[in-house]
């Protein structure tokens, strides 16, 4: 999310699946779209039939590659070099420099002309780190990355905010320190030759990709990028995505039909679960979770630190106070900061990986697992199971008895006698869960579309929805704390928890929850029409401001709308924000508000009506004219000119250079994966991310760079036939039979070297653990020549585990805990291992 968020303003996909059908070129990179999003892929096929070019950049030749025009085999973990080289190639290409479209787009819609602080030093100057690096703390002080120019405090604010920034600009883009020139210099060494050396991609092939993308970007043509977790799951995952955003900004592909960046998410509502986050560092609507620091001590402190003077986030108090009203109701008053003190303050990293180590170290004593399977899906899965075994209690809610529920008697280490159930103290509850068809509610899909699903039948047996479980748990706890005057008691007592119940099982009324999420006037409960109606005086309540208006004042839930059409399908479901389908769609028109071309028109300014019109809901103030120029003291959105498409950004512009918001630098820079067989050819002195959070502990050993014991690169992935850690597929006979066993894909070259025949048993090993699987010897995997030597890549689906019908070695047994500093997402797409023929004998461990 931060990859797109830092440059464009929002972490969500900028476009829709259907819009891919309008593309002239689709680059699928960091994703195996045909396999993992088959139905989404039909729009790629549609575009393909209309003549679009499809390029698949991926280590393996997959079912996506089979329908592509070009398959570019790339070493896992080298994506940023490829993208950086595209940036370099584009900036030095004839087409980009001659076609006025690119310059016009970049000049008006990006911060290319902004002058960067003279204190800034690039990685090219400091041998692989940016200025402000503290090697002791392994973190950056980003002060030197700021814009040159003043920051002016604003006065007369009811709620405080950060000072307003007024940077210097050079519209000629010639100033050596303008963002454009800084970017150009930064990527100067990212050449086709470097791509060949680092990625293993022949330079001619790279050139062909670059030329295809260039030829299919411009006034009349658009190129779209699709990515998934094969970009995310790297220590530099955020920067890979951000590099793509940078490239798409330079090519003028953001905010336009058939363009943009489509983030392909893997779960039914993984987008929704970040919008309404079950994540430790966020509150609903991407409000930051307050931290235990003096800067967040009070609500006013929080705003003074987090709230910008310009852009849509200026309205943050409206969103935050409405959230506090939704949660604490009458207990949220102006006098008590609307209950801000009730909100817990975070004091560290409680991300997934940290939770595992906190469990293992005995800090966390009780755990709820709802629809997740960390015993298989958790990195360093053995550590994950040890962590489960160290809990006092564990509640697992799922449809099948997944490995996370059965680890205490069925895990490999229990089966081989290393651990006995009698030694595991964890008190385990397995509660059967309901399935979507058995409950009301909404999912938010990969392009931010919220859709309601009806309850068709009551869940069978003891199966209940999570809403039922959480609601009744909360009800019981409120009863238990009814008389408790302690701070802990006050917190739970302040919470509003009075949803009506319906049906034979006393399910909470989901429409009541939906109304709270969507927002309402506190006094009379009337739903608000949108986030523009939210107030910062406690008169409105709203559980998630970006979903505001989803329940209309008339009481209709917009996610229940089911009228599709051939274009944006604005009457099918509800897309946040405000039902906008293509984000930043102001950029689909030129600075004067006219469509860039007839073929690519989407929204445009209608001077007669005095508003933006078109096929979509404008992601822009509807009546702000293109020639609007903000007065000097304007705040919020009013401070953006009529040409600024990126409403969430401080200056309304897409950022080529990111002065704030990223922890590992203002520009994407290639670092090798944490475990890699080769040196970093760009920065020999700084081979790996200087700021990646690491978990240095005996139960999480790392391989050194080029460790001869672990010469192969392994990448993990999913298959069409299964879903994530298998809880919803390995137990389902029709799916299990399609891919009944765990396997690793290896090239015939490697197979020959190791004497492995197709179908043989093999064991893959890392310092963390081993996994047994069947060998699938296939030419679809190929050894790559990197830095003059052969690197063997092996692939392993990570679905499999010891439970269910389709079983196999756990790929995450091999993976390690190491994170991207921005997203705190682990690195599963590239690490090192060794592979041997044979079986994992009972009890055999390193």
């Amino acid at each position: 999310m931060p990859g797109l968020g830092a440059r464009l303003g929002r972490g969500g996909a900028t476009t829709t699946l259907a819009s891919l059908a309008d593309s002239d070129c689709i680059v699928i990179m960091g994703s195996n779209m045909a396999e993992n999003h088959p139905v989404g892929f039909r729009f790629v096929v549609k575009a393909r039939q209309r003549g679009a070019r499809v390029i698949h950049v991926d280590p393996r030749f997959s079912r996506t590659s089979a329908l592509a025009d070009l398959h570019v085999p790339i070493r896992p973990g080298s994506d940023l070099v490829f993208l950086g080289a595209l940036v370099n190639y584009v900036l030095n290409s004839e087409r980009w420099n001659q076609d006025s479209f690119f310059r016009e787009y970049v000049l008006h819609y990006t911060n290319a002309s902004v002058i960067v602080s003279p204190e800034f030093r690039d990685t090219e100057e400091l041998a692989g780190v940016f200025s402000g690096y503290d090697p002791e703390q392994r973190r950056y002080d980003p002060t030197s990355w700021r814009y040159a120019g003043e920051a002016r405090p604003l006065e007369g604010e009811r709620w405080p905010c950060r000072p307003r920034i007024e940077p210097e600009r050079d519209p000629t883009l010639q100033h050596p320190n303008c963002a454009f020139q800084v970017v150009k210099r930064h990527f100067a060494r990212y050449t086709p030759e470097l791509v060949e050396a680092v990625c293993g991609v022949p330079r001619e092939l790279f050139r062909e990709v670059a030329e295809t993308i260039l030829a299919n970007s411009g006034r009349d043509r658009t190129t779209a990028f699709c990515y998934a977790v094969a970009w995310t799951q790297h220590t530099i995952g955020t920067q890979i995505i951000s590099c793509c955003a940078l490239l798409q900004l330079l090519l003028g592909n953001i905010g336009r039909p058939g363009g943009g960046i489509l983030a392909l998410r893997g779960h039914a509502t993984i987008q929704g679960s970040t919008d309404i986050p079950t994540l430790f560092d966020l509150l609903p609507g991407y409000l930051k979770m307050p931290r235990a620091v003096p800067e967040h001590a009070t609500l006013a402190d929080y705003f003074a630190t987090e709230r910008p003077a310009t852009g849509l986030w200026y309205d943050m108090p409206k969103f935050m106070i409405s959230l506090l009203k939704a949660w604490y109701g009458d207990a949220a008053t102006p006098e008590n900061d609307y209950g801000y003190a009730f909100l817990p303050k975070i004091g560290g990293d409680y991300s997934f990986q940290s939770i595992l180590t906190m469990m293992k170290d005995g800090v966390i004593k009780g755990l709820f697992v709802m629809g997740m399977n960390p015993a298989v899906g958790g990195q360093n899965a053995r550590l994950a199971r040890q962590a489960l075994a160290n809990l006092d209690w564990l509640v697992v809610r799922d449809v099948h008895e997944i490995e996370t529920a059965s680890f205490w008697y069925d895990a490999p280490e229990v089966r081989n006698g290393e651990v006995r159930p009698q030694d595991i103290k964890t008190e385990v509850f397995f509660l059967p869960a309901a399935i979507a068809a058995e409950k009301d509610g909404t999912f938010t899909n990969t392009h931010r579309l919220v859709q309601w699903h009806d309850k068709a039948v009551e869940p069978p047996g003891d199966a209940r929805s999570e809403a039922h479980f959480v609601y009744h748990l909360g009800r019981r706890l409120k009863e238990l704390y009814a008389e408790d005057e302690s701070p802990a008691g006050q917190q739970i007592r302040a919470l509003t928890w009075d949803y009506p119940t319906v049906g034979p099982h006393g399910e909470p009324d989901l429409m009541a929850v939906a109304r709270e999420i969507s927002g309402y006037r506190f006094a009379d409960g009337r739903p608000v029409a949108g986030f523009h109606e939210l107030a910062d005086d406690g008169s409105t309540a709203c559980g998630c401001w970006i979903y505001a208006g989803m329940v209309t004042p008339e009481g209709e839930h917009l996610a229940k709308r089911r009228r599709g059409d051939d274009r944006a399908s604005l009457d099918w479901g509800f897309a946040w924000p405000a039902n906008r389908r293509i984000l930043y769609n102001r950029a689909s028109a030129d600075p004067q508000g006219r469509p860039w071309s007839e073929r690519k028109k989407w929204i445009w300014w209608d001077p007669e009506q005095g508003r933006w019109v078109g096929y979509d809901v404008p992601d822009f103030p509807a009546t702000k004219p293109p020639d609007y120029s903000p007065p000097p003291d304007a705040r919020g959105l009013a401070a953006h000119p009529g040409t600024a498409p990126f409403v969430m950004m401080l200056d309304g512009l897409g950022w080529l250079f990111v002065p704030v918001g990223l922890l590992d630098g203002p520009l994407p820079t290639h670092y090798e994966p944490w475990e890699t067989p080769v040196e970093n050819l760009l920065y020999p002195a700084q081979p790996r991310s200087p700021v990646a959070p690491v978990f240095v502990r005996p139960d999480n050993p790392y391989h050194e760079i080029g460790d001869p014991r672990y010469p192969c690169v392994i990448t993990t992935y999913r298959l069409t036939e299964h879903h994530t850690a298998g809880g919803m597929s390995r137990w389902v006979p029709w799916l299990a039979e399609l891919q009944p066993a765990g396997f690793v894909e290896i090239s015939p070259e490697l197979a020959r070297e190791l004497g492995i025949a197709n179908g043989d048993w093999v064991v893959v090993e890392t310092a963390r653990g081993s996994a047994e699987a069947r060998a699938l010897v296939t030419e679809r995997v190929q050894p790559l020549t990197v830095a003059g030597r052969t690197v063997h890549v092996i692939g392993m689906p990570w679905h499999f585990g010891f439970g269910g019908l389709a079983t196999g070695g756990i790929a995450n047994e091999l993976a390690t805990l190491v994170e991207d500093p921005n997203s705190l997402i682990h690195e599963a797409k590239s690490f090192t291992c060794r592979i041997r023929k044979g079986r994992l004998r009972e009890g055999e461990r390193e």
Partner: protein
């Protein structure tokens, strides 16, 4: 059918001896109730039609009306019926006491009450009102939650609201992180 025609049908000239079952064949969703659902697997968001008869789901298939899937489904989506009716699906509460080597079946109500008690015990033992610097933090690190990307938005909202807003549980994470 006339006797001549019937004979013709049965002596191999027009070899089409249609049986009674064939004459009565019809789709099992004829006359079924239909609800609109969303596929529970990946994030494409395919619309599904759930056909029910007598409170039982008889069929789940794609919804033609959807601008996303237009009636289609992938193998996982097409298997949703079996996810619901999986022979391996668990329908009872299972409980494993500390150090035990077996599951025991327990009533749902009992489990809910026991879990609520455990939450209170652990929370009370680990709740921090002010941190070492004196800042009000109102949190507990003793309890964590994992999961959410396969749940509903409303459920995630209730989880976040109760666990974080009401109980001070900060270690709340889901699959978006992995």
């Amino acid at each position: 059918m006339g006797i001549v025609q019937r004979l013709r049908h049965h002596i191999g000239l027009v070899p089409n001896p249609v049986s009674r079952a064939t004459r009565q064949a019809h789709a099992r969703i004829r006359g079924a109730d239909v609800s609109v659902s969303v596929c529970p697997y990946c994030a494409v968001g395919c619309s599904q039609l759930v056909y029910t008869k007598d409170g039982r789901i008889v069929d789940i298939e794609g919804n033609y009306e959807s601008p996303i899937n237009g009636g289609t489904l992938c193998p996982k989506g097409a298997a949703t019926w079996q996810l619901v009716h999986s022979p391996l699906r668990e329908l009872r509460v299972k409980y494993r006491a500390p150090y035990s080597d077996r599951w025991e079946e327990r009533p749902l109500e009992w489990a809910m009450e026991r879990i609520a008690q455990l939450v209170k015990e652990t929370r009370d033992a680990t709740f921090v009102h002010r941190d070492e610097r004196g800042l009000v933090v109102n949190r507990t690190l003793g309890i964590a939650h994992l999961g959410g990307a396969t749940l509903d938005n409303e459920e995630n909202y209730l989880i976040k609201k109760l666990f974080t807003g009401g109980l001070g549980i900060v270690a709340v994470e889901n699959q978006a992180r992995i």
